[in-house]
Structures are given as C-alpha cells and as structure tokens.
Amino acid sequence: MRLFLLSLEILAFSAVLVLFLDRFRKLCHFVFVASLVAACSLNFFVSFPFLRGGETSIFRIPWSVPFGEFTIGLDPLSAFFLMTIGCVALASGIYGCGYLQEHHEKKNLGVHYFFYLLLITLLLVVVTARNAVLFLTAWELMTIIGYFLVTFYDEKKSVREAGYLYLIVTHCGTFCLLVMFALMGQAASSMDFDQMALAHYAPGLTGLLFILGLVGFGAKAGFFPIHIWLPHAHPAAPSHVSALFSGFVIKTGIYGLLRLIFIIKDLPAWSGPVVLAIGGVSGVFGVLYALGQHEIKKLLAYHSIENIGIIALGIGIGLLGNASGHESIALIGYAGGLLHVLNHAVFKSLLFLSAGSVIRSTGTGEIDAMGGLLKFLPFTGHLFLIGSLSICGLPLFNGFISEWLVYRALFDGVIHLDKFGIIMAVMAAVSLALIGGLAAICFAKAFSVIFLGQNRSHRQDIYKENPCMMWGPMMFLAAICVWIGLFPKTIVSFAFASAHFLIAAKPVAAQTEFLLQPILSTTKVLYIFLLVLGLLVLCRALLARRYPERRVGTWACGYPSLTTRIQYTASSFAEPVLRLFKWMVCFQVQRSEKSRINLPEELELSSKVVDMPEHFVFRPILAMLRRFSGMLLKLQSGHIPQYLFYMLLGLIALLLWKFPWRA
C-alpha cells in the first residue's frame, strides 16, 4: 500500500513540475518519461501480491468535506485494473513524447504533459477509491481533464465540437451516478463502499440502482445507445491520448459496473440478460458501423464499442451464472470479461499508436488514400498486423484467450442453465461469433487496404518510418500480446483471482487448476502448430532453391497498364456486408450529381453509414430543446408593465394557493 501511495505522489509531483518546464524541452521530456516509468513499474510491483494472494488493504485519512473521507483500498479487482493502467499508460506516454516532437514550437507541451500525468493519477485514484464522494470527485475530474487532453488540436472546429460532445455526454451520465451513490449512501447510512457492501437493499431499490449504474457507467464505457461521443472523440484526439482513452479510460466504466456488482450482492434476476443484450447489441452494431467507416481512427473507435460489447457479454453471463447459482459459470464469465479488459487495453492501444504513426507518416487518416505501406513502414505495418490479429481473436494472440474464456462461460451456460438461460446463452454465443467474424472482415479490410497492394493516393512520394521512440512502446505492447497469447497461465490465473474476489468466494487451488487445464492444452496445440509451420517453411525454402522464381507485374487479364485505381478500396470491400445489414446500419450510397448534364466524365460514388442513435435520437432532442427555449425567451420582452404583471400574477397565485380563505 505504501508503494502505491508513493507512485501517486511521484505522478502528482512530476505533473506539477512538468507544468513549468516547458521551455527546457529535453528536461521536460525526461521528467515526463522518468515519472511514467517509475509510477507504472511501481504499480506493476504493487498489484502482483494482491492478485496472487487475494488479500486486501485499506488506507484511510479524514477529509473534512461533507460525507467525504479519503479512503484508498487495494483488492484483487482494483489490482487487476492497476496492472492494465501500468502497461497502457507507460506505452502511450512514451509514444506521446515521440509523437508530439514536431508540435513543440506551436503548442505548450508542458501543459499537455501536466494534464496527462494528472489523468493517470486520477485513474489510479478512481480504481482504488473506497469512498463514494472521493470516487465521484476523481471521476468528474477525470472527465474534465480528459476533455482538455482530447482537444489538444483545438484550432480545428471539429475537434472542439467532439470534445464538447464528450464533456456533455459523460457529465450527464455522472448525474445518474450521483443519484445512485446518494441512494446507496442512504440505504447504508454511510458513503464508504465497505459499509455499503454490508447493507441490505430492498429488491425494488437494487433494480433502480442497477439501471442508474448501467446508464452512468455505460455513458463512460460506451454501451450502444449512449456511445455517441466515442466515434467523435477518438479521431479528434492525438493518437496517444485516444490510445489511453480506449485503452483504459472507458474501462473505468466497466470497473464501476463490477464494483457495483460487488457491492450489491443480490442483483435482480433480469440484470444478467439485460447486460447480455447490451453486450450483444453494442458488439454487433459497433462492428457493423466500423465496417462502414473510411477514417482509420473512427474505425478503431467503433471497434472499442465492439470490444466493450464483448466484455459486457462476459459480465452478463457471469451475472446469469451467479443468479442461477452456477458458481463456475460466474467465475469463468467474470474472468473472461476481466481478461478481455486487459487484452483490449493492450491491443487497442497498440492499434491506435500504429494508426497514429501511419497518420504521422502519410498525413491523412483516410484509408482509401493509402495502400502498400508495408514496404515503406515495416515496423508500423507488422505491429498493426499483430494488433489486428489479436483484436479479431485469432489463435496465437491474446484476443483468442479472452474470447475463448467468454465462449467457455457461454457454452457452459448452454449446457447447465435452465431453458431461458440456454436461449440467452445461445443468442449471446451466436452474436459473439458474428462479432468475431465481422471483426475479422473489418481488420482484413483495414490492414490490406492500408498496408498491402499499391498506394492509392496520387502523390507517389516515399513515406519515411517513424523514430524508434514511437515503435519502441508499440513493440512492448505487441510482445505482451504474443506473451499472453502463447503463455496465458499467469495472466489467466490473475483474472481468476479477481473473479473469485468478485463473487466473494475463496479461491480453491484444485478448482482453478481444473479451469486452467483446457487453456494449457489449447496452447500445447498452438505450439505444435508453430512447429508444423516451421517444418513447412523449411521444405518450402528447399523447393524454392531448386526451382527458379520470377517477379513480374500482377496478372491483369492482359490489359497493358495496371493503374492503382482498379484495386479494391475499403468501401468496395465492405459493401457486400453492409448491403446485407442495410436496415440495421442505414447504409447509403451517394452518386455525385454534377456529371448529369453533359457527358459523365468523372463519376464519383461514395458510401456512408449513419450512426442511428446519434442522428435519430440525440441530435433531434437537442434541437427540440433549443427551439423550446427560443419560444420561452419571448417572455422577456423588455416592457416594464409586463414584468410587473408577472409579479402580480405570482402574488395572486401564492394568495389563492396558500391563503386561509374563510371557508
């Protein structure tokens, strides 16, 4: 516990220090990187005993704010999230240093680093807070500082609007949290999480609390209907910030939900199916919208929503198992959800960082203007490949392990649960399969259109690779992906430890062994696969040496010139899928009208996907609100008699309402 507090102090102190060091560039970067490395390694070091041993520790000092008390606690659940922060923050921080070098003249990097370090401190506090007021304070501050980080390029109007939308949606989500914690505080007559965990809640109250928690934490995590800020915030933010955001900041929503589940033991029966439904819908719609995107960071943002959907599926089946008394299903479900939190944090930040370096080299985020970059950007390309393989959940990488656990929980549910449970589990399993398939299509499209084939943009200049300061942290993240993919024993046992803590069961060694056994045999099969692959490569090399190889242009059915325009673009690759799901995604294809009059020289065809909740729900509500307030403004018409008339009206109303008239 002391080490954890030390890491907090390091971060806070260096944040303030960096604020004033903007002029001496070298020192500023050094302090920033050094503090990040120190704090993240301390976090790693702190979280291991809690994950292995499973014990908890509390640190408490009085804080004279009403209801408030500064209590920080560490337990396996928080420790798991500490570990996730450690790797994401470290990698994206160091990458950020390299990424922002060119901005040094125009923008004040000291302030940016200050906000970055402060955000990390707040994330640590949110994840370990044990008092509702401290949690809410850290939560709100995290939203505000996140706003300042997102709007780094605030000269662009779209960036400002994206930041503003983010601020409103998450802030209004927090209001639900306010009500939830107030109600819980009253039920437990104290704002301390431990007291809340002991209190008894009326059945009706738990339902209301759960809905409020879902909306409040869902707004931050990006569940489907309230995800609208995510696709706008990520393209606007610098890529190391969006890596940290989709890596960890949206996971605080998941952490909040898990903490709520831990506090309210007996959740209503319908909570499992609801979370499963949200997970399925978020996943499917997230990946379908991602398929329709043409901007790389918007595509990755929608994939964050999809992966949050997968995590919600894990938590949903865990809830279902817990409600119906099957402890093993609950255990595996929660462990799958938690492991996917870590995996998604790692491979999503890897993808965002590589997208950032692609944008830094090519200057644009539009996929259809890229192509054949693997030859120019070898490091970024290969790391993006590893990232996309792991996000699609294909074997050999960490995505597969966590999706495998969620599948296991789902199919255990199919076998053991009652009729209604089986239907829910089967629908969830089918939607997870659909999500996995569509994600594979989306990332096959993304990787191949960006890195393979020929360059589609008209300017044929050479793109230079990014400095090692940028692909170094990405290499570190890729290494973690492969390590979890091939040797998952340690990480999965950590996930099981925190899952045990979540369902408040003592971890039995034999049981975890029994649960771990299938995963280990999966990895054995994968080792054999690698062995066979090695053998094949060897014999292919033998064959290649005996017979000559020729390199010639791609076969184009005999046409002389092979222009780059005949290549399949991102929209054409995704068009069959989107046409299939047209009504779910309102997929529109626009033809440019300008060539209608004379001979059609340059026809243009573009396809667009409309984000349904944003354009059919939230924007109309805001417009209606503005129109209503416009009408109301006419009340203030400037005439004094009218104002006095309002006063007289008020007086008479009060008299009529409250006066002791003689009966």
Partner: protein, 214 residues
C-alpha cells in the same frame, strides 16, 4: 365621533386616488398626490389617545417628506419635460377608471373574506389601504411617463402607510423615520435617473425603453 372623521378621511384618500387615475396632466398628478399625503399626515391625530410626541413627529415627518420635498423634486423634473401630457399605454383613460373601480370592489371583497382576527378601529381602514395599494400598482403598470410611475409607487407607499396606522404604538419612532428617509432617498434617486433619461432619450416614454430583451 372620531370614527366618522376617520371614515371621511379614508374615503377622501380613496377618491383622490381614483381622481389621479383620471387625470393625464403631469402637474395635476403630482398635486393630487401631495393632497392625499396631506390628509394622511393628519390621520394619526384622529386616532384615539390624544396628541403624543410620537404622533406629532410622524405627522411632521409625513408633511415634510411627502407634501413638500417629494412634490418639489417631481415639479423640478416636470419642468424639464416639454410634453406635459401622459396617456395611459395599455388601455384608454376611462378604461383605467373602470379597472380602478373593479380593484376597489376587489379589495372590499378581499378584506371581508380574509380571516383576520383583531378588530381595527374602523372597518373601512383595511379595504381603503388595499384599494390605494392596488390603484398605485395599476398606475405603475398602465402609465407611460416615468414621473407617473414614480407617483404610482408613492401611492402604493401611502396605501402601506395606512396599514402602518394599525400598529401605531408598536413600531418605534426610529423605524418610522427610517422608512420615511428611505422613501425620500428612493424618490430622489429616481428623480436623478429621470433627469438622465430626459437628457439621453429626450423623451420619457417608458414603452420605448425596450431595447434590452431576448
């Protein structure tokens, strides 16, 4: 014997208020207000309990403030104004009289229906106080010129002063004087503001002062 005189005085006060509703010349409006205040000044003496220092001070205070000082300021302001006439904005002259009558009826109905314990020395007092108050309110709402609004405000003050008569003994002298001082300073500041409006807009028509709106 006294109650007859008191009722007579109260009736005259209400009649003067109605008279004020009817006139439209600024000069006569101010003179009517001065007359009403003059009557009010002598009302305490009609109450029972002889002539105490308290009553004398109140009477002289009202005389100085409401009969001499405030009309002087208003006449000084009126002299600056070229147009001497003030037409009611919302509804015509006779219509405002009708509304005035309705308001007096309303105040009589109000005081009869109000559950008010404690016997005031004349049952006419509360209705007349309410009616003066409502007429003052009506003058502020309906009239266009700034000076008439000030006079309307002062009519309201007179109505409130009638209520003050009820609790003649309880409020200490200091508080009464403080109230007079505040009213005087209030009107004084309004006078200055009217002067500024006159210089700035070279008219005093409140209905044109509507640039500040949404």
């Amino acid at each position: 014997m006294n109650t007859v005189w008191i009722d007579m005085a109260l009736a005259v006060v209400v009649i003067l208020a109605i008279g004020l509703l009817g006139t439209s010349r600024l000069g006569s409006i101010v003179r009517l207000f001065a007359l009403q205040s003059f009557i009010l000044a002598f009302l305490p003496f009609l109450l029972e309990g002889g002539i105490g220092i308290h009553k004398v001070v109140i009477a002289t205070g009202t005389l100085i403030v409401k009969v001499i000082a405030i009309p002087a300021i208003l006449f000084w302001a009126v002299r600056h104004v070229s147009i001497r006439r003030d037409t009611p904005a919302i509804f015509g002259g006779s219509a405002s009289l009708l509304v005035g009558g309705f308001l007096i009826g309303l105040s009589f109905f109000l005081s009869s229906r109000l559950v008010l314990s404690g016997k005031p020395f004349s049952d006419l007092l509360i209705p007349s106080a309410f009616s003066t108050l409502f007429i003052g309110f009506l003058v502020i709402i309906s009239r266009v010129k700034a000076i008439t609004q000030v006079v309307g405000y002062l009519i309201m003050e007179n109505g409130i002063f009638l209520f003050a008569l009820l609790l003649f003994e309880t409020t200490p002298l200091l508080v009464e004087l403080g109230i007079f001082l505040d009213i005087f300073v209030g009107v004084f500041v309004m006078g200055i503001i009217i002067n500024h409006i006159q210089n700035e807009f070279d008219h005093m028509d409140i209905s044109q002062l509507t640039s500040l709106k949404e």
